[in-house]
Amino acid sequence: MIYAEHLKKEFKKVIKEPGLKGSIKALFKPKKEIVTAVDDINFHVSKGEILGFIGPNGAGKSTVIKMLTGILTPTSGECRINGQIPQNNRQKYVKEIGVVFGQRTQLWWDLPLTETYNVLKEIYEVSDENFKKRMAFLNEVLELEGFIKSPVRTLSLGQRMRADIAASLLHSPKVLFLDEPTIGLDVVVKDNIRNAIMEINKEEQTTVILTTHDISDIELLCKRIVMIDKGKNVFDGDLHELKSKYGQIRELHFETTTKDISNVLAYKEHFNFIDDDISVNVDGNLVNVRFNSSVVPVSEMLKYTLQKIDINDISVKDADIEEIVRRLYKQGV
C-alpha cells in the first residue's frame, strides 16, 4: 500500500552568525549549508494498518509526512502510495489521501463548521448522496453534532481537532495522515480522538500514518511503529518486538522503614550492574529501583532486597513504552 524506499531529503539553509556583525554579513553574503533532514528512510505499510511514526523533535517526521503527502519532493529515493508517486500527479493523488496537521487547521476560521464541509465537498467533488452518508458517519464517530453550527474560531482545541479530522475524511480517503493529532489535548479528548481513529480504521480499512509524541497514542492505536532519529530509521517493527528487544526494564517500587538504605543496599556492587542497567531513586521512605531484568532476574532482586531491609509495601512493574523510547532517544541506538 505505502512504500518508502531510500527516501532522502536535503535542505539548503542560510547560516547566520550571531550578533550585529553576523546580521550585516548575512545581508550581503549569506552563507549556505546543506542539511540532511531525512536520510535513507525505508518502510512499508499495508492496507488497513495503523503505523505510528515516532522520534524526537527535529528527527524528520514531518518532512517524511510532507513527502508522502506530495508537498515536498524527495531529493532522492521514492515513495509510492497505492501505486502512485505523489509528486507525479499531485492533484489526482491527493483525492485519495486525507491530511491533518495538528498545529494548523484547514477549517474556515470565521464561519460555522458546516460551511467548511460544504466547500470541501465541492473541492473534492463528493456527490450529494455520498456527502450525506459521510456526514452522518463522521458525526457519529467524531460527535460533531454539538458544535457543527458554531463558527470555527469559537471551538475548543479538542473540538477543532475532531472537526479537522472529519474534514480530512470527507472524501473517504484510502490513507489518512495525522501529524500530531493529539497535541495539546486533555486526556479525555485524546481518548475520544483515539477511539475515533480506531473506529474509522476498523470500519473502512483506512490506512493511517500518525506521528506523535504521546506514547499512549502508540500503545493504544498502533500495532507497528517506525522510529526515526536524526533523519534515519532506528527501529521498525511491532510493539511487542520493541518491548522484548528493549523492554527488559523492570521497576521495583517499595516503601521501607529502614533508614539510610543507600548504605545497606548495594545493588550495583552485589550484582555487578553496569551504569545503564540500574538506577535507584530514593524519596523519603519511598524507593524506586529501575533495572535490566536480563542481567538480573526479578526474583533475585526481590530476594536480595527483602533480605536486607524491612519492607512495608512492594510492587514490580513492566517498564512502559515511554521508558523504552526515552532510552532509545538517549542512546541514539
Partner: protein, 266 residues
C-alpha cells in the same frame, strides 16, 4: 471545457463563502471600504488643490486628469477585489507554511489561492473610480461609438490581468525567499505613476512604465484612447498583448516557484 465549468463553479462557491464571512464582520468591512474611499478622496483633494492654482497641467484639464485617475481605479479595484489573496503568499502564507494546505487539495493551487478570498475593501476604489468618471463625463467631449464601447469592455479585463499577472509573478518569488510582499509592494508603487498622464514624466520613467513594468497600460493608454479615440491598435491592442505576456510570465514563475517550494519545504 469541464475544467472551466468546474473553475467557475469553484469560484462561485468561494465567493459565496466570502460573502458569508463578511456578514460576520459587517462593521469591519464597512470601515475597510470607507478607508479606501477616503484614501482616494485625499488624492483627489490634492489634484483639486493643485488645479486651483494652475489652469491646466501640461495641457491636461482637471476633468481629463480626473477621468484618467478614475479609470485607473477600475482595473486596479477589480484585481484587488477578486485576487487579493495573492498578497498573502508573499506576506505569510509561504513563510508560515500554510501553503501546504493548497498542495493537499485536488485543485490547482494558483487558482485556489487566487479565488479563495474576496477583498471587499476594493469596492471603495471601484465606487470612487466609477463615480469620478460619471462626474467628469458630462464636461468631457468624447465621441462615442459602438466600437469604442466594445473596446472598453475588452480592455478592462485585460488591464486587470496586468495587475494580476504582476502579482502572481512577484508573489511567487516568496517560494524562494519566503517573503516577497515588499517586492509586490514595490511594483504597486510604480503603479502610482500610471494614475497621471505619462507626458509629465521624463523619458526614463515613461520607458519604464510602458515597456518594463507596463502599468501605463492599466490606465493611461486605455483612458487616452477613450478620451481621444486615437490609435486603438496601440492603446488597446498592446494592452491586451501585454496582459497576455505578463500573465504567462507570472504563471511560468509561479510554476517554477512551486517546484522550488516542493523541493525546499518550509
Amino acid at each position: 471545457m469541464k475544467t472551466i465549468k468546474r473553475a467557475f463553479r469553484m469560484h462561485r462557491i468561494f465567493v459565496i463563502q466570502e460573502l458569508k464571512r463578511m456578514m460576520e464582520y459587517k462593521g469591519d468591512f464597512i470601515v475597510g471600504i470607507i478607508g479606501f474611499l477616503l484614501g482616494q478622496f485625499f488624492n483627489l483633494l490634492f489634484i483639486w488643490i493643485i488645479f486651483s492654482q494652475i489652469p491646466n497641467l501640461v495641457g491636461w484639464t482637471l476633468e481629463q486628469i480626473v477621468f484618467i485617475y478614475g479609470f485607473s481605479l477600475i482595473p486596479k479595484g477589480l484585481d484587488h477585489l477578486l485576487f487579493d489573496n495573492l498578497w498573502g503568499i508573499g506576506h505569510f502564507i509561504v513563510r508560515k507554511g500554510d501553503f501546504d494546505k493548497y498542495l493537499t487539495r485536488p485543485i490547482n493551487p494558483l487558482f485556489h489561492v487566487m479565488v479563495e478570498k474576496l477583498q471587499i475593501d476594493a469596492l471603495g476604489e471601484l465606487i470612487m473610480g466609477i463615480a469620478l468618471i460619471c462626474i467628469v463625463l458630462p464636461s468631457l467631449v468624447i465621441e462615442w461609438s459602438f466600437i469604442k464601447i466594445v473596446m472598453i469592455l475588452i480592455v478592462i479585463p485585460f488591464a486587470t490581468l496586468i495587475y494580476t499577472g504582476i502579482k502572481i509573478a512577484t508573489a511567487a518569488i516568496a517560494f524562494w525567499t519566503k517573503r516577497s510582499g515588499n517586492i509586490t509592494y514595490m511594483f504597486y508603487m510604480v503603479n502610482d505613476f500610471s494614475k497621471y498622464p505619462i507626458n509629465i514624466y521624463n523619458n526614463f520613467v515613461k520607458t519604464i512604465i510602458t515597456y518594463i513594468i507596463p502599468f501605463a497600460f492599466t490606465a493611461f493608454y486605455p483612458a487616452y484612447y477613450i478620451l481621444t479615440g486615437e490609435n486603438p491598435l496601440f492603446n488597446i491592442g498592446v494592452t491586451v498583448l501585454i496582459a497576455i505576456v505578463i500573465m504567462s510570465i507570472g504563471i511560468f514563475i509561479w510554476n517554477r516557484g512551486i517546484k522550488a517550494y516542493e523541493s525546499a519545504g518550509s
